[in-house]
């Protein structure tokens, strides 16, 4: 297998990289990982497979995605497959999903009940299951033959019973939520059988009492609009939603409800969750889905020493917690797996260290750390290195306050953190007072920060962030303190000398100015509008490999500017600007030549000996060289390039070109 080669070659470079071990902050990856952890939800999809669900649904023709959604049952299956896939792709793979059909001819369930077919027990989604659903959804599997539909009456109560059985079987894992997603077009079961009807109601209530939530996704029949009040919302405590005809919307709704936290569902705010229907704004739905994806978890909890603590001084210390709201997410890591036996197993690796001199294996106590210095190796014990890296007490220590303006924009070396007080009343109140006054006074707090005992220290600026609320008082930006890591003096690089330039003339500036308003992005920059194309591509490829599909060529890339729009709005402005700039550039180049020639004479012998390599040749006074017949081809090319033209390839053409330019000046 070829992979072995690459691994050993990676070893070769390994020891070099190993050097960097001590240099880096320790928890970049950790922060990420920490934020990826999930809460485990369990959902059983129950799909009505009776005849009416198999009847083609006439689309309104508005939505192009409706073509595939013609048969309600298949459309539902496809939705579930999409939901499962999205779970596969998210980092949140610990959620459990089960799928069962009701109203089938055949049956398969542990309680031997008729017309109920459990396709998937509760388990985390995997590719096999998605493939299976896809085959049913696309019609590749002959559903009639494999499962069949029925119109016979069967107790809906059994469906609930089997669901509760499925949940109960899942005792090995503690679940955060247990929910049933019921997809049906039958709004009034057992109209003529009061016994079955009341059993169903009892069973459903039993479910809710044992903490299992029922979410009803209703489908309208061709000739009949689903009536919640006929049975479900009157008799059963559930969360209803109407599935619109749009395929994409369905997925979003299901996903959204999937990701809703149970705390919301359990709180008395049920009425705040509206009946979802096609009119809902899906953009906001999507963003809410995303908001639920990453549970809020603090990275650290440390003391914030506002004052004192030394002997003889009063101490003012509160507890704070730190969060990473902005942090670069990396592509997942490749793992080493063993795929040669029946089950694929993840390999664990262990590194062996060997002393090159004695060829003996080294235990961790046998390893010291050294620094090359003056041709020798200066060795330190681990404890010494740890001691060297530690500078100051763990926590955040206030040094004082400065106006916000001192935190210049280029004072940024890594992602910021976010601070919020811990649960104590006095912490909360002191923090709130500090927060409010810092906002009012437009000040930042300068502090010394040691995240953990083994963290490298830094100076930080704390900047108060005001709470910002959107519609319906939904929080857009949370209140708290942003912590910006200030650079040390050696982290700042000076501006390069060629930042020193002559300001452009006002005419040029004024010509260009309108572009800003014409291409202004409404409401500022919102990260949620830009998916990282690298990840989209990554998962596109993985998915197509998993499902044996052809790997797509391109990628959906939201970072590509909308060139047509840009051209429509500002093309003319830029054209005018370019025209002006071109005219001025002639003048500019002529000036430059005279300046350069003056410089080169005044520089004296030192300057002259510096040689004329091609990169500098545009500085050289081409005109005089040309006249003396001493210019090199490279110099001429560079000169032509500097005028904005493309230099010719052949020397003869080049000469013509130069003559043309020089005579036009």
């Amino acid at each position: 297998m070829s992979s072995s080669n690459t691994i050993s070659s990676s070893w070769a470079s390994f020891s070099d990289k190993d050097q960097d071990e001590f240099d880096a902050e320790e928890d970049i990856g950790e922060e990420e990982k920490m934020l990826m952890t999930s809460n485990r939800d369990a959902v059983i999809f129950v799909i009505d497979a009776s005849f009416s669900m198999m009847k083609k649904n006439h689309s309104d023709g508005i939505d192009e995605a409706v073509q595939v959604a013609e048969i309600p049952f298949r459309s539902a299956i496809q939705c579930i497959s999409e939901v499962m896939t999205s779970k596969l792709l998210s980092d949140n793979t610990s959620d459990l999903i089960g799928v069962m059909f009701m109203g089938t001819k055949k049956s398969s369930n542990t309680l031997q009940k008729e017309h109920i077919y459990v396709l998937h027990n509760l388990d985390s989604p995997d590719i096999q299951r998605v493939k299976e659903l896809n085959n049913i959804g696309s019609g590749e599997v002959d559903f009639d033959n494999e499962y069949g539909s029925t119109d016979e009456e069967y107790p809906i109560g059994d469906v609930f019973w089997i669901c509760s059985e499925l949940f109960n079987k899942e005792t090995s894992k503690t679940l955060k939520t247990k929910r049933i997603f019921l997809i049906t077009d039958q709004d009034n079961p057992h109209t003529s059988n009061p016994v079955l009807r009341s059993t169903a109601i009892t069973r459903a209530r039993d479910l809710t009492e044992s903490g299992i939530q029922i979410n009803l996704f209703s489908l309208n029949k061709l000739d009949h609009t689903f009536n919640f009040n006929a049975f479900y919302s009157v008799n059963i405590n559930l969360m209803p939603a109407i599935l619109p005809s749009s395929f994409k919307s369905n997925i979003l709704i299901i996903l959204y409800i999937f990701n809703l936290n149970k705390e919301i569902i359990q709180s008395d705010e049920i009425d705040e969750i509206p009946y979802y229907n096609a009119q809902k704004n899906f953009e906001s739905l999507v963003s809410q889905i995303m908001a639920k994806e990453s549970p809020r978890r603090s990275l650290f909890s440390i003391p914030f020493r506002l004052f004192g603590g030394d002997e003889g001084t009063p101490e003012l210390t509160i507890g704070i917690k730190g969060y990473a709201m902005v942090i670069e997410k990396k592509k997942p890591l490749a793992r080493m797996v063993h795929m040669r036996s029946e089950t694929t197993r993840l390999a664990e690796s262990r590194t062996k260290y060997v002393c090159m001199d004695t060829t003996q294996e080294l235990m961790s106590d046998d390893i010291k750390y050294c620094y090359e210095y003056g041709g020798e190796k200066i060795a330190f014990t681990k404890a010494e290195v740890a001691e060297l890296r530690r500078f100051g007490q763990k926590g955040l220590t206030l040094i004082g306050f400065k106006p916000s303006s001192v935190v210049k924009l280029h004072y940024n070396i890594e992602h910021p953190l976010f601070l919020y007080p811990d649960e104590g009343v006095s912490s909360r109140r002191t923090f709130a007072a500090l927060h409010r006054k810092m906002l009012e006074m437009d000040k930042v707090a300068i502090c010394y920060f040691v995240k953990r005992d083994n963290s490298l220290p830094s100076f930080v600026a704390l900047k108060a962030q005001a709470e910002k609320l959107g519609e319906e008082k939904r929080q857009l930006i949370p209140p708290g303190l942003n912590m910006i890591h200030l650079p040390f003096v050696d982290d700042i690089r000076p501006l390069p000398p060629h930042a020193e330039i002559t300001s452009a003339p006002d005419e040029m500036i004024d010509l260009l100015k309108p572009i800003v308003d014409k291409l202004h992005m409404k409401d500022g920059f919102d990260p949620s509008k830009f998916n990282n194309p690298e990840f989209i591509r990554f998962y596109d490829v993985l998915q197509s490999m998993a499902f044996d599909k052809e790997i797509p060529l391109g990628v959906e890339d939201s970072t590509v500017p909308k060139f047509a729009t840009i051209n429509k709005r500002v093309g003319k402005i830029i054209e005018a600007f370019n025209h002006e700039a071109d005219q001025r550039s002639v003048e500019l180049l002529a000036n430059q030549m005279t300046i350069q020639s003056k410089k080169s004479t005044s520089r004296g012998t030192r300057g002259a000996t510096r040689g004329t390599n091609s990169s500098e040749s545009s500085n050289v006074d081409i005109k005089s060289l040309w006249e003396k017949g001493k210019a090199t081809v490279d110099q001429l090319k560079a000169y032509i390039q500097a005028t904005g033209a493309k230099p010719a390839r052949l020397k003869a053409d080049l000469i013509n070109q130069i003559e043309g330019i020089l005579s036009s000046n």
Partner: protein, 761 residues
């Protein structure tokens, strides 16, 4: 290519340099000062990798050993100590420990001539930056006859002359001139004349030592990470209607890193019979898999039986390193404007990483003029540009913001990366100044809300701790304290100091932290003194209690319990994530994902992933404390099962104490780890189980009641929605056993394990 440098250090070691102990400097001699300065200069140099040629010459020695003497017989009492070579540790050691001392007053000029001769011979006509440093107290007589010859040679050879004189005139320190000998006065004047003539510099040793005591920051050469165009519009399609400016990106801020530590074999240190020890450590990796989950045993597998794969859910999709490029997609280098936003609309805290400067292509006035126009447009419109940035062909695009910066005569743009949707988490937090009651009324007074008085005091606190005038400048005027340019990285300084210290004194302990650096990490004593009263008032006003060790010992993962765990954590573990950051810094093209994976897996000691029945408390604590991996949720979930199991399988009340201990720990952890809801949910379930299981475990609930162990309430953890009252009622209210769907719970544990457990009790 770095410039080649040739430097000669000439040190006066005559009797006046070392016989007299100086006042006030702890009995050190002039030679001690010279050594100290020389050492500091050499220390900064031994870590430089560029070509340096240095040599040490001492004069005033009893012996004579130099080339000119051999040729001419003159130039006596001058000894060349090291050939011209890369400065290495031996030269440092000599300066530090074995600096020769002579009893002869030799001529500094003779030494100078010897040096000039040496430089000429070594450098010939090659391009070198040449320097001479002369360390002297100026007491020995100088033969002035050679003045013209020496000065003209220094000038013609383009040598930088630096004279460091002990007790020479210093603009900052007023010396009492009376104590100076006639000799010294004359020589100082003469050397000054020489320095003037040769465009050299003369320093007082004291000044030099002061300068050298500051941490040395090596200047970094600006290198561009991107040379290409800044565009607005698509020049391919709309040629003349698109803006194209040739620009470069150069780092403006970048975490400075020291050269790193390498692994070093302590075993080789003690091995006797080995010559030419390298002390090097090589590493190799072995892989193992668990074949049978029920048997906790790992089997080694050879690497070529393994595949490199990515996880998609539970499935692994093998992709070899060579095939890694299936993930790449076409993209070509660009810095292309997407749109503009108002300065006020931009949230500074969105800046992801470090900042770059965007300047126009070097020596290109046309590009400069265009860029300047664009900079001014942004500046005058108070706007920023959002851009797509691709560094190289086939590299994934990134998002960035362009910010205008004008400080005449400099103009540039700053470029900073901003987050994609995936990089940004929309957490929500309770409002700090808006408390809404259950009845949806906004409260004016609440314990979370600071009072007017509190706000006033806090305002005064902020004002009094203002740093803009907290320091004093050289003229005695107040100035800003702790500017970025005054903040040295204390760890980097410490490491440098420790390395050179250890090199010279291998047996000594590490040097003490620099007091000045230490002071920077705390509030200025003057500010502390000034605000004691105010803080005392604030303390009582805000009712600040001593933070009961909370935070001080609290780790993110776990309080109290993990203090010991933390100490046991190997340094490797603490540091092993290091490479990650490097990769982030753009080395990704060289070290691809395979390496990342390797390094991540490196040195991982088998972490505990299971809360066992045998040692639930220990296992749980360890899992919570795992910093390599977040096992919090897993640990909590498993602990829930363990508690449930204990309660259900207890013979009478035999396991109740154990269950209670676990439950207590679980509760404490959940409150700290934002898992309150998980705990509360579990406790509700447990309640149901307790009252409905057969036989009912009602007495366990009574135990909880006695211990007041109820739901986590909202004052304990902010992710809890339960009020204190609810929690109380929850504990009090007992359930009737009623017909809920029977949860026929099967034993999960193998019976023998269960038996073991019972034996324990």
């Amino acid at each position: 290519m770095a410039d080649k440098k040739c430097t000669i250090f000439i040190v006066d070691v005559g009797p006046t340099m070392w016989e007299v102990k100086r006042d006030g400097s702890e009995g050190s001699t002039a030679l001690d000062l010279a050594r100290k300065a020389l050492l500091a200069m050499l220390e900064a140099k031994v870590t430089i990798t560029s070509i340096l040629r240095e040599r040490l010459i001492v004069f005033g020695t009893d012996e004579t050993s130099n080339q000119l003497n051999e040729q001419t017989g003159e130039y006596e009492n001058i000894t060349t100590l090291y050939p011209i070579e890369q400065p290495q540790l031996p030269i440092l050691r000599t300066v530090n420990n074995n600096m020769p001392r002579g009893n002869v007053q030799a001529d500094a000029f003779d030494a100078m001539i010897v040096s000039l001769n040496m430089i000429e011979e070594h450098c010939k006509k090659l391009k070198y930056t040449k320097k001479i440093y002369l360390f002297t107290d100026g007491e020995s007589p100088i033969n002035q006859y050679d003045f013209d010859r020496v000065s003209s040679q220094i000038l013609s050879q383009n040598i930088e002359l630096n004279i460091l004189g002990v007790d020479f005139e210093d603009p900052d320190i007023r010396h009492s001139e009376e104590n100076k000998t006639e000799n010294k006065k004359r020589n100082e004047q003469f050397l000054r004349k020489l320095a003037d003539k040769c465009k050299g510099t003369i320093f007082s040793m004291e000044y030099v030592l002061r300068q050298l005591s500051k941490p040395y920051i090596r200047p970094v050469k600006p290198t561009s990470v991107y040379r290409g165009t800044l565009t607005l519009g698509d020049p391919e399609t709309y040629k003349s209607a698109s803006l194209v400016i040739d620009v470069e990106l150069i780092a403006r801020s970048m975490k400075a890193k020291l050269k790193s530590f390498k692994k070093y074999s302590a075993l080789a240190e003690t091995a006797n019979n080995i010559e030419n020890k390298t002390y090097e450590v090589s590493q190799s990796r072995t892989y193992s898999i668990t074949v049978d989950e029920n048997v906790n045993e790992k089997v080694d597998v050879p690497q070529d039986e393994l595949d490199r794969a990515y996880a998609l859910g539970k499935t692994f999709i093998p992709i070899s390193k060579q095939d890694e490029n299936v993930f790449s997609f076409e993209s070509s280098p660009c810095l292309s404007i997407i749109s503009f936003i108002g300065k006020e609309e931009f949230r500074r805290e969105l800046i992801l990483l470090n900042v770059f400067t965007v300047v126009s292509k070097k020596d290109d006035p046309v590009a400069a003029q265009r860029l300047s126009s664009f900079i001014h447009v942004l500046y005058e419109k108070d706007s920023y540009a959002i851009v797509r940035f691709v560094k190289k062909n086939f590299e994934p695009p990134k998002l960035g913001v362009l910010i205008p910066y004008i400080k005449p005569p400099k103009e540039c743009l700053y470029f900073a990366r901003i987050p994609f949707k995936e990089d940004y988490r929309r957490f929500t937090f309770p409002s700090l100044d808006r408390i809404v009651s259950k009845t949806r009324k906004e409260l004016e007074v609440h314990e979370y809300l600071p009072t007017e008085e509190m706000l006033n005091k806090m305002g005064k606190f902020i004002e009094d701790l203002d740093l803009m005038n907290a320091a004093i400048d050289d003229d005695g005027n107040p100035r800003e304290y702790l500017k970025v340019k005054e903040c040295f990285n204390p760890v980097n300084v410490m490491i440098k100091k420790a390395v050179s210290h250890k090199a010279l004194y291998p047996e000594e302990p590490l040097p003490q932290p620099d007091p000045a650096l230490k002071a920077q990490t705390r509030m200025l004593p003057s500010l502390v003194e000034k605000n004691k009263e105010l803080v005392n008032e604030m303390r009582s006003l805000f009712k600040i209690k001593e933070v009961k060790g909370k935070g001080k010992t609290t780790k993110r993962r776990f309080a109290d319990a993990n203090v010991t765990v933390e100490q046991n954590l190997s340094l490797d573990q603490l540091l092993s994530n290091g490479k990650h950051e490097d990769l982030e810094k753009g080395k990704r093209s060289k070290t691809d994902n395979g390496d990342r994976e390797n390094t991540l897996m490196l040195e991982k000691q088998e972490p505990i992933r299971e809360v066992s029945l045998a040692d639930p408390v220990g296992n749980f604590k360890e899992m919570i404390a795992n910093r390599e991996e977040d096992l919090v949720t897993t640990a909590v979930e498993q602990m829930c099962q363990v508690v449930e199991h204990f309660v259900k399988s207890s013979f009478g009340t035999s396991l109740y104490d154990k269950a209670l201990e676990c439950l207590n720990l679980l509760r404490e952890t959940c409150a700290k780890e934002n898992e309150s809801e998980l705990f509360n949910k579990f406790l509700r379930e447990l309640k149901t189980i307790v009252f409905t299981t057969n036989p009912p475990r009602t007495n366990f609930w009574e135990l909880l009641e006695r211990n007041k162990l109820s739901l986590i309430i909202n004052t304990e953890a902010d992710d809890s929605m339960t009020t204190e009252k609810e929690a109380e009622e929850f504990l009090k209210m007992k359930l009737e056993r009623k017909s809920i769907i029977e949860t026929a719970d099967e034993e999960q544990m193998p019976t023998d394990e269960l038996l073991n457990l019972m034996d324990d009790d």
